[in-house]
């Protein structure tokens, strides 16, 4: 056979190895750095919010900060109206979106024949892709007049925002609940059907309870999505920084959310002013709320042990 040196000859690898190794060492460390950068970025986001928004919490008396009047022109920064606005719109959206989203997920996961699923799922993905500004625009030109015609004083209300928001959070809620339903072992269904349960009984008594934690996550992330939405809400909720009179009609009053306040007012404030700081302060509030929601949801996922077994080298 041949007398050529085999690959294994030490002299050959001795010259190749160091060159290869330095290049790889650099690449591998860049990869590690990229992984760690996610932690750094979230830290930086919080840091910069704190840097610009922190003074608001120090300079504004707490009583005023949680007060019911938001009059930046007079230097009065009470966050209550904005919190109430965000709360109204978000709760409204959740009340509309959760049942509908869950039902759609049940339909897709348990009832729909495969060909329907293949049409419907891309359609729902498409909805997730529609920019919020386009939905806001439609809410502004189409939905708001509809609501006004129905008898409200104005079409731009918390309810209008809730409807648009519900629509926007539907894809999140549908896809995560569907995952949760999908994760319920087939044996549960077969077992229930085998002892004579109807399909509805199986869904209601067996599948839904088994998917409970996943559905909770879906609802939480839906809330997270709704509370942080900005443009659509700004366009259709009327932007009145008042707390509507408490009652069943309050949902049909104009409100202003935290997100809309930042978006609408940041353009007009002087950098470094108290107003500017306060808008960043609202950002901190939003960051903390969504961080809490997502960490909690992440923890539920963790306890379910739903970790993909990715490739490992």
């Amino acid at each position: 056979m041949t007398s050529k040196p085999s690959l294994a000859t030490p002299s050959r690898t001795a010259e190749d190895a160091p060159r290869l190794r330095i290049g790889e060492w650099i690449i591998e460390n860049l990869i590690r750095l990229a992984g760690l950068s996610t932690i750094v970025i979230i830290g930086l986001i919080f840091l910069f919010l704190l840097r610009e928004g922190g003074p608001a919490f120090l300079d504004i008396p707490l009583r005023q900060l949680f007060g019911t009047r938001w009059y930046p022109i007079e230097g009065i920064y009470g966050l209550a109206p904005l919190l109430v606005g965000s709360l109204l719109v978000t709760v409204g959206a959740v009340i509309i979106a959760v049942p509908l989203g869950l039902i759609t997920a049940i339909y897709l996961g348990e009832i729909a024949p495969p060909w329907q699923r293949e049409i419907l799922k891309p359609l729902i993905e498409m909805l997730a892709g529609i920019p919020s500004i386009v939905l806001g625009f439609l809410g502004w030109v189409a939905l708001a007049p509809l609501i006004q015609n129905a008898g409200a004083a104005t079409g731009l209300t918390a309810f209008t925002g809730a409807v648009i928001l519900a629509y926007m959070s539907l894809p999140t809620i549908i896809s995560i609940s569907e995952d949760a339903l999908y994760a319920v072992p087939k044996e549960y269904r077969d077992g229930a059907l085998a002892i004579g349960a109807t399909q509805w009984q199986t869904i209601w008594r067996v599948v839904l309870p088994a998917a409970r934690s996943g559905i909770v996550i879906a609802v939480m992330l839906g809330i997270g999505r709704a509370i942080g939405e900005t443009m659509a809400v700004m366009m259709v909720t009327g932007n009145a920084a008042n707390i509507p009179a408490f009652g069943s009609g309050m949902i049909f009053e104009p409100v202003r959310t935290m997100t809309a306040t930042i978006a609408a007012e940041m353009g007009e404030v002087a950098q470094g002013s108290l107003h500017y700081n306060t808008l960043f302060g609202i950002g901190i509030v939003l960051f903390v709320i969504t961080f809490a929601i997502n960490s909690l949801a992440g923890r539920i996922v963790g306890t379910r042990g739903a970790r993909r077994s990715g490739g490992k080298l």
Binding site: E24, I41, I130, V134, F137, M266, L313
Partner: protein
């Protein structure tokens, strides 16, 4: 009412409601299409706005969105792929990895307006890029990280483990294995993630409000340190900030934006399915 009737009723109600949820999605798209298609012509796409933006076209805004989308890709792509490779191939099951995963989940949940604030504080002011394409691209790039990382990681993890083992057993190093056996097969999935991320970036308004977007600019941007108009913000401006704006222009702008974003979403789906079909294993 007996069990069977309850069953039929319940299934019927679920089916009906599900259809009620899905139909408006198609309707929304068709509605914008129907109202906007008449406005779209060559001039509308390629001309600058005139007469207080009530006439003319949307070219500067469209171009700005294209610039920003490319900028986003340049920022987000390397970082996201790196993080995805890290999570799939390098990360041990330890505290640090759990923190990275938690960070990604939370990045995904941060409201886009908060990204806007961060971009303003960090890039516009602290790093003194000013309101610029650079600051906007950085902001959007970071915003799209979670979606690109998650999709890319899933694509990388779905490459069969045996390919890695075989490659290593043939004397390939870890990086060679990733480079020649993992990434090529994960590429369609990675691309899907990138395109989805870009679709998201192209449609976002809140993050660009304070970092790059201009109400109206007579000239096109000349460098990454210039401001630019952008389609989503333009739509916001012409529908709420300019009195006497013809509805047709608003719908036309909405349609162009919708088409850009949806075609990116569709492209992502297409890449995924067509490449999956070509797979040998």
């Amino acid at each position: 009412m007996n069990r069977q009737q309850t069953n039929r009723l319940a299934i019927g109600v679920i089916t009906g409601l599900a259809i009620l949820v899905v139909i408006p999605i198609a309707l929304v798209i068709l509605f914008v299409f129907y109202n906007g298609i008449g406005t779209i012509n060559w001039e509308f796409i390629t001309a600058a706005p005139r007469n207080g933006m009530r006439e003319g076209g949307i070219w500067p805004a469209l171009l700005g969105t294209i610039f920003l989308t490319f900028g986003t890709a340049i920022i987000s792509f390397p970082l996201a792929i790196g993080a995805a490779i890290y999570l799939s191939e390098y990360a041990a099951d330890n505290r640090m990895t759990r923190m990275v995963r938690l960070a990604i989940v939370n990045l995904a949940g941060i409201p886009s307006i908060v990204y806007g604030l961060f971009g303003l504080g960090a890039f516009v002011l602290f790093m003194q890029f000013g309101t610029s394409i650079l600051a906007g691209s950085l902001t959007l790039g970071i915003l799209t990280l979670p979606v690109v990382i998650s999709t890319a990681e899933e694509a990388i993890s779905s490459v069969p483990q045996q390919f890695r083992t075989v490659s290593l057993s043939l004397g390939a190093t870890r990086w060679q294995t990733i480079r020649y056996q993992v990434l090529p097969h994960a590429l369609p999935g990675i691309l899907t993630g990138v395109i989805l991320g870009l679709g998201r970036a192209a449609g976002e308004t809140a993050p660009i409000l304070f970092t790059v977007a201009a109400f109206y600019l007579p000239n096109l941007p000349r460098s990454v340190f210039d401001q630019t108009m952008a389609l989503p913000y333009h739509l916001y401006v012409i529908s709420t900030q300019v009195p006497g704006m013809p509805l047709s222009v608003q719908y036309g702008t909405a349609l162009v934006l919708l088409l850009i974003v949806l075609s990116l979403t569709l492209a992502a789906t297409f890449v995924r399915t067509s490449m999956r079909r070509r797979r040998e294993w």
